[in-house]
């Protein structure tokens, strides 16, 4: 089975080992340590880590399409945000009549803007199962339609990158519009419960953190499964010599579409888990610059390695958290400098550094180096 294949693989075992160990340790330190202990992990930290893990899952999704399929998506934030909105809509409906205006059905912002009834696309989001399906379906469907059009017409390279960017940009502007019924610029906030658990308790936070960790593990295994399967090799084939793959009988557009949709769904899940943890979803998640930043995490971690994406996402965001607190006036220098230094001195990202550490071992198949073709000028 393609899904169990990666479990036999050393790198995946290590990755999962580290991830689960981290989950366990954090949980233990949070639950069992007294609050004044130096080892105590506060709920704040737990949520923070949960957020990093969401970003990590998003980065893995991006790496899947970029690293292995050569599709530099500058719009993955869109799928992330849509997943987030689906979750946000569910959480919004869970507020019920506890909103400021006490309307049992309409969210506050709708009352506020004189909406009389719930728009049709909000229907069903009061049910968890429906919302959770939409978390997968909405981004998946968008990716399917968008990808179908784009791959069918063989849009590649920067052209594809830019239309993904246009997609997320257009969605951002659309979601900014108050008429859209998604809360405009303010987005959705003031969440209370998820599945009946109070979002403002530490236990729920810990639960979400663990759920995110598990989602990341599953997402990672799925991606790893794809890339170690024959389909993964076909993806690389499509990335490097599209025409050749086609002449071998592979439907390059289908391959691309499949992987793209899977990736979009993973991004959607990441977004859905992100929202309850940060407590807000708003259109800035659609911002093209955010999507570019995600790509930067992946590049920094090391493209086409998957675990590199995780490292990149966690590292950059951790750096951000620390720098914005420690050196609020100068953190951009540090972050920008980090990007520059990594690119210049670590051509294969941090994963490349790790890989060169354990040099001597046979190169694993299925983790090919990023090609050095001039994609951008093609």
């Amino acid at each position: 089975m393609w899904l169990t294949q990666p479990l036999r693989e050393r790198s995946t075992q290590i990755f999962l080992g580290v991830l689960f160990a981290a989950l366990a340790i954090v949980t233990f330190l949070h639950v069992a340590m007294p609050e004044d202990s130096a080892l105590y992990v506060s709920a704040y930290t737990v949520t923070l880590l949960g957020k990093y893990l969401c970003y990590a899952l998003l980065a893995v999704a991006v790496d899947l399409v970029w690293g292995y399929l050569g599709i530099l998506s500058l719009g993955h934030g869109a799928f992330f945000a849509i997943g987030g909105y689906a979750m946000g809509m569910y959480l919004m409906r869970q507020i019920g009549d506890r909103g400021t205006y006490g309307d049992p059905i309409l969210p506050d912002f709708m009352v506020f803007l004189n909406w009389q009834e719930l728009p049709w696309y909000w229907l069903g989001f009061d049910m968890a199962w429906f919302a959770f399906i939409m978390v997968l379906l909405a981004p998946g469907l968008l990716a399917l339609v968008f990808g179908f059009l784009a791959f069918r017409s063989r849009v590649t390279g920067v052209y594809l990158s830019i239309i993904t960017q246009a997609l997320t940009f257009a969605l951002m502007l659309a979601f900014f519009r108050n008429e859209m019924g998604f809360g405009g610029n303010n987005g959705l906030t003031d969440f209370r419960d998820i599945l009946g658990f109070n979002l403002r308790t530490d236990a729920t936070r810990l639960g979400l953190f663990i759920a995110t960790g598990i989602a990341l593990a599953i997402g990672y295994v799925i991606c790893r499964g794809i890339v170690t399967s024959k389909l993964g090799r076909v993806s690389i084939a499509c990335r490097d010599a599209e025409a050749r793959a086609r002449f071998l009988g592979y439907r390059v557009d289908r391959v691309q579409l499949f992987v793209f949709v899977v990736s979009a769904m993973l991004a959607g899940v990441a977004g859905a888990l992100y929202v309850p943890q940060v407590g807000i979803i708003n259109p800035s998640e659609f911002s093209p610059l955010f999507s570019i930043e995600v790509v930067v995490w992946v590049a920094l971690g090391g493209r086409a390695t998957l675990y590199g994406a995780v490292i990149g996402a966690v590292l950059v965001n951790y750096a951000k958290t620390v720098f914005t607190g420690v050196m609020p006036d100068a953190w951009l220098f540090a972050l920008g400098g980090l990007f520059v230094l990594v690119t210049v001195f670590l051509p294969k990202g941090i994963a490349g550094l790790l890989a060169s550490r354990r040099k001597g071992k046979q190169d694993e198949p299925g983790t090919p180096a990023a090609p050095t073709t001039t994609e951008a000028t093609a």
Partner: protein
């Protein structure tokens, strides 16, 4: 000595909002320095804890949590945009913090833990419209704003208000633009056309931030002068003007509760202090800075009154506290956590300052819930016991759900 009182500062120092928010960080730092020079409060020093939420709304929530949970600050001064406040709100409520919010906003909110020292719509928009209607004789209105909640709400309130005043629907034009909109050609041309119907026309602008510069430039270039179609802005202050060549804008208006040009000793002292603090002769002050000035002093007074920095004690103590504002009067914290403010209308001058042309005869108390919105007409907020409610419905006599829940938690 005792531990210092920790003051969290939650203003964006990078990203799109840095333009507006950095000065607020500096302001609070200045106020803290001054307070410490005067011996702190309750014999304790004050200490600023600065973080950068980087104009990123989820990050605001995260940083607020960091301030309250990790840094254990006693009070937070921060936020600019409504969305950042909305993002932070659940966090301050959950961790029972104190937040002083210094910017004019759309109202429709009153939190137990937040003190709104900027203007509510009734402290800015409505008086400004009154002025245009009564003193300038405006009959036709363009409500132009950036497409987000503050302009939406303000315009909604104004529309209702104007229609109540007998303005016909076709005499109101409403227009929304995206954030950072930079190409105003069509819209200004529309405004020009709208204004050529023979009736005196004015633009009420809730255009936000960066979009203003190209907007005013286009106004000037298309030959719309203040004497012709005046623009009254609610988001353009001295800070924004410092980035605009004000030559062509002389005479356009803004409504605020403070202008740097206000002729009062408190203001002059404040300006001197600010210039000294920044080391820049050209440094300007603006309304949100005054709001922080007031908020900070109120906090100090409340701490003195309560004799502790304990959040609940301060919350109780601060209602009713009066401190001088910078325009020569006093600001009082009302039970709804809004404050009393004078409303001033200023005209832009060529030196980047406003000259006050009109002001309310006395201060106006901020309304948490607008009288001109159907959903909130009956709501009031009062954080004194026994009512202790952010959205009390006077019609049903019940407290809104959220506040009820909080009160219940409180009781436990």
């Amino acid at each position: 000595a005792e531990d210092p009182i920790k003051v969290g500062i939650l203003h964006s120092l990078s990203g799109t909002m840095a333009i507006s928010e950095t000065v607020l960080k500096d302001t609070v730092e200045m106020l803290i320095a001054k307070q410490n020079a005067e011996g702190g409060v309750l014999g304790r020093e004050l200490e600023a804890v600065v973080v950068d939420p980087a104009s990123n709304w989820p990050l605001f929530a995260e940083k607020a949590r960091e301030l309250l949970a990790q840094e254990k600050v006693d009070v937070i001064f921060g936020n600019w945009t409504s969305v950042s406040r909305k993002s932070v709100l659940p966090v301050v409520e959950e961790l029972n913090g104190l937040l002083f919010y210094p910017v004019q906003y759309e109202g429709e909110e009153s939190s137990e833990n937040v003190f709104y020292t900027g203007a509510a719509p009734n402290q800015q928009a409505i008086p400004a419209v009154d002025y245009l209607m009564n003193n300038i004789g405006v009959e036709r209105w363009v409500l132009a704003g950036t497409d987000y909640v503050y302009p939406r709400t303000t315009n909604k309130i104004l529309e209702t208000y104007l229609m109540d005043q007998g303005v016909a629907k076709e005499d109101i034009m409403i227009n929304y633009t995206p954030f950072g909109h930079s190409d105003w050609q069509n819209i200004v041309s529309d405004i020009k056309r709208f204004g050529s119907a023979g009736k005196k026309t004015a633009v009420v602008s809730t255009i936000n931030g960066d979009a203003n510069v190209p907007f005013y430039r286009e106004l000037g270039n298309q030959g719309i002068s203040a004497s012709d179609i005046p623009v009254v802005a609610f988001s353009v202050g001295e800070q924004e003007l410092s980035g605009i060549d004000t030559g062509p804008l002389v005479g356009h208006l803004a409504a605020w509760n403070y202008f740097m040009s206000v002729d009062s000793d408190a203001n002059y002292d404040f300006i001197d202090q600010w210039i000294e603090h920044t080391g820049n002769e050209e440094a300007v002050t603006n309304d949100p800075m005054e709001a922080h000035y007031i908020g900070f002093n109120m906090y100090i007074e409340a701490v003195k009154k309560a004799g502790t920095t304990d959040v609940d004690a301060v919350k109780d103590a601060i209602i009713g506290v009066s401190v001088p504002n910078l325009t020569g009067g006093y600001a009082t914290m009302m039970p709804n956590h809004h404050i009393t403010k004078p409303v001033l209308i200023g005209e832009i001058q060529d030196n980047g300052q406003f000259s006050v042309v009109w002001e309310t005869p006395s201060t106006v108390a901020g309304d948490a819930w607008s009288d001109f919105l159907p959903g909130s007409r009956d709501l009031i907020a009062d954080w004194r016991k026994p009512m202790f409610c952010g959205s009390f419905n006077t019609a049903t006599g019940k407290c809104g759900a959220s506040a009820g829940e909080m009160a219940a938690e409180e009781a436990e």
